[in-house]
């Protein structure tokens, strides 16, 4: 059964479109050894705007030979870059941060066009955080000797970095900034549906005079990533994406000695106690699951509500849902933009059908006049969800929330931890001692108390269990990009 709700009061908004025009090359080449080069593979693929289904541009598809050139460029650049004084590496990173800030409007628009996320999020979240990451890690480059007591931290070498489509430029920043600060060189592969901002970042790298080969950006799909990970001169693999691919990478690199960090999927719990500030908690639910159309690995996709306040929370959430605006991502009023791709939309729709067919009750707002073209999904949630339901166990990666209940803190902890994932969790209560005890007992790498989906360059991010290993951000985010040596120079 489906419960449908009307939009609040029929408020009309005038469109507030971001109209700045961005020039985009019709053919976007690979960035190798400091230059944009045509792919030796002679193969190209097109990238489309998911909100219009219109083609934006062609992107080079890097083949094995292209990957080889890129990795060798990174290898060649390594000795000089890793021996450069930390204070000099720092200045390159500061320059990159500054240029990102200065070109942030252009980058935000491009991000929204290529990926479908609302302009207010690319503008206010992705871009400021991307710049902050470079700014933060710039400062570490000449301070590494203070980061890890008792050992000498040295760069790992050539890093293969594969990033997802949900925060394209931000993920590039998460990967590149700590790697470069520690003296590594990189080959970065953006996701195939969102390559444009990474290539614009390549322009910035040229602008700031980053030495050729220190960062190489190769575009393409899964095969491109596969060739990159397999290359024998790659010493470190950093991947953000699905748990399925993460497991494959673990098997592919087994016994190779390649250092690996994986930031994978999640099915994070958001727990609301009866003694929470309910209105604030409802805002936390909304930012937990509907931020970036739910295309967030740490999305609070399992909501656990203390049984006594279930009706109140459901009622308030339904009301709040009515005020969320789905539509043109370039409109500054838009809360939920387009789903990133047709394939992802089909996945989300399949999960919604499965939720209904397995017996859960769907609540949705369907009065948003959705554009005729593009990939769209209205925000929704399910009640009457059992822990065994598919929608309560598997990562949907869309604006779909499963609401469940609990009676005691012990039950909330047990149910929240009952998942192979362990990326994030939210806890809502006004009782300080309770919040810290629950935080202690949850198996998750990031715990948001009375908040959700907060990010900062100084704050480590990463998961427990099948959500992967290694941290990105903060002091701990340096660790994956260094090897330790003892005082006599022996590798530990």
């Amino acid at each position: 059964m489906t419960i449908k709700t009307d939009q609040i009061g029929g408020w009309e908004y005038s469109p507030a479109l971001e109209t700045t025009q961005i020039a985009i090359e019709p053919k976007n080449k690979l960035f190798i050894n400091g230059k944009f080069v045509s792919p030796k593979s002679r193969s190209w693929f097109s990238t489309t705007n998911p909100s219009t289904q219109e083609k934006i541009a062609d992107i080079a598809s890097a083949g094995r030979a292209d990957i080889n050139t890129a990795v060798l460029a990174a290898k060649k650049a390594l000795p000089k870059w890793s021996k450069l004084a930390g204070s000099v590496r720092a200045k390159y990173l500061y320059r990159i941060a500054r240029r990102i800030q200065e070109r942030s409007r252009e980058l935000a628009i491009l991000e929204t066009m290529d990926g479908g996320k609302p302009i207010k999020e690319s503008r206010d979240v992705d871009l400021p955080l991307a710049a902050q990451h470079f700014f933060y890690y710039a400062g570490w480059a000449d301070k590494l000797e203070y980061a890890f007591p008792g050992v000498e931290a040295k760069p790992v070498g050539v890093c293969a970095q594969i990033i997802p489509w949900n925060f394209p430029l931000l993920m590039a920043a998460w990967k590149l900034a700590p790697a470069l600060a520690c003296g590594n060189t990189c080959v970065l592969k953006p996701a195939e549906t969102t390559s444009l901002t990474a290539l614009r970042l390549a322009e910035i790298l040229q602008e700031v005079g980053l030495p050729p080969g220190v960062v190489n950006i190769v575009t393409g799909a899964g095969d491109t990533g596969h060739h990159l990970v397999q290359h024998k001169s790659v010493q470190k693999v950093a991947f953000t994406g699905s748990t399925e691919v993460g497991k494959l990478l673990l098997r592919q690199t087994a016994g190779s000695g390649k250092k690996l960090t994986l930031e994978l999927g999640g099915k994070s719990a958001n727990i609301i106690f009866a003694d929470a500030a309910i209105d604030q908690a409802v805002e936390g639910i909304v930012s937990g699951i509907y931020f970036n159309q739910g295309h967030v690995c740490c999305a609070g996709s399992r909501l656990f509500v203390e049984e006594s306040i279930l009706d109140e929370v459901v009622q308030k959430l339904s009301y709040r849902l009515k005020s969320l605006r789905v539509g043109d991502p370039l409109d500054k009023n838009t809360d939920l933009g387009a789903i990133n791709s047709k394939a992802q939309l089909e996945t989300i729709e399949r999960y919604i059908r499965q939720g209904t067919s397995e017996g859960a009750q769907l609540h949705e707002v369907d009065t948003n006049p959705l554009p005729a073209n593009g990939y769209w999904c209205n925000p929704c949630f399910f009640t009457d969800v059992q822990p065994s339901h598919t929608i309560a166990r598997e990562e949907i990666f869309g604006p779909v929330l499963s609401v469940m209940t609990f009676r005691t803190p012990k039950e909330a902890i047990a149910r929240a931890n009952n998942s192979p994932y362990g990326l994030a969790a939210g806890i809502w209560t006004d009782k300080g001692s309770k919040i810290f005890e629950i935080a202690k007992q949850l198996d998750a790498g990031v715990i948001w108390c009375n908040s959700y989906n907060k990010f900062d360059a100084a704050s480590p991010f990463g998961g427990f269990k099948e959500s992967g290993f290694g941290r990105e951000g903060g002091l701990q985010g340096l660790r994956p990009y260094v090897n330790f040596f003892n005082k006599s120079g022996r590798k530990m």
């Binding site: 007591p149 008792g150 673990l250 198996d443 715990i447 908040s451 704050s459 269990k465 941290r471 903060g474």
Partner: protein, 290 residues
């Protein structure tokens, strides 16, 4: 006429109990003259599974007690080991074919190693955790948390010092362990069970198995309840088995290569960076406002 000695068959140590292997198999331990000194159990996959169950059951209380208490218990373990110095020295001398002086040096280092790890229990968090200066009105901090059940694959030698060094790191952080004792020289592992049982280490926190590694390691690698594996000096083949199997449940695999002398250096095997692979860093955000 010389007295006929009573030669012992050492049992496995699982959940605080001495158990014979369910497989009914045993292996002879010979001295350097080829004479049988004792027998040990040849542990099976089922023994491993029982040990994992025991370690899983013991995890929440061992990781939940204070670092101060965990430190006192590990120090007590060191005290009990100190009390049996001569027994271990004799076992090491016989099985590793070394002089009694070398054997005693290994036992002394093992006792000191446990004392070192006992001291880390309530300090690790201060060294590898931190408060993070985020750009917003939040109190944000990162703290280590134990991972769960850790399986140790001990080096062939030093058979006692290697074992103690590998179990000490995950134990100090609050993990529970199952050790596959030295492949070549399992006697010290077998006797160590008696140290554990007479110390205050709760049942299930330390479990000890003896027998060929190549039989048990593939099962360790794919066991879904095992959170991580700590392996010293693995062969290339064993490393591939462990890392491929790890994909089953995203097990953390930590392999180290260490030569015989390095085992004696606390800085190399008992620094916070040897404990760090067995913790997860948890970051907690809380708004700050009034």
């Amino acid at each position: 006429m010389s007295r006929l000695t009573v030669s012992k068959t050492y049992k496995l140590y699982i959940d605080g109990q001495f158990a014979r292997t369910e497989s009914g198999r045993s292996l002879a331990i010979e001295n350097q003259f080829g004479e049988v000194e004792a027998h040990i159990c040849h542990a099976s996959r089922k023994d491993l599974r029982e040990a994992v169950d025991a370690a899983t059951g013991a995890f929440s209380s061992w990781s939940g007690i204070t670092g101060y208490l965990r430190g006192q218990i590990l120090y007590r373990l060191a005290e009990m080991l100190e009390g049996r110095r001569e027994e271990f020295a004799a076992a090491i001398q016989i099985t590793q074919s070394v002089t009694i002086a070398v054997a005693r040096k290994e036992v002394d280092a093992a006792v000191d190693r446990l004392v070192c790890f006992a001291g880390w229990t309530d300090k690790l968090q201060q060294v590898i955790g931190c408060a993070n200066p985020v750009a917003g009105s939040y109190y944000n901090f990162t703290v280590p948390q134990a991972q769960g059940v850790v399986v140790i694959v001990a080096p062939s030698k030093p058979s006692l010092l290697g074992l103690v060094s590998l179990i000490g790191a995950p134990l100090s952080a609050g993990n529970t362990v199952i050790a596959l004792g030295s492949d070549q020289h399992p006697m010290a592992t077998a006797i160590f069970g008696e140290v554990c049982q007479t110390s205050d280490v709760p049942p299930g926190v330390i479990n000890l198995l003896t027998g060929p590694h190549k039989e048990l390691v593939p099962h360790v690698a794919t066991h879904r309840q095992v959170a991580s594996v700590y392996c010293a000096n693995p062969s290339k083949k064993m490393r591939v088995i462990l890392e491929e199997g790890a994909s089953e449940n995203m097990k953390r695999t930590h392999c180290i290569s260490i030569d015989d002398d390095t085992w004696y250096n606390n800085h190399e095997v008992a620094s916070p960076w040897q404990i760090e692979p067995f913790v997860e860093m948890k970051t907690i955000w809380h708004p700050s406002a009034c």
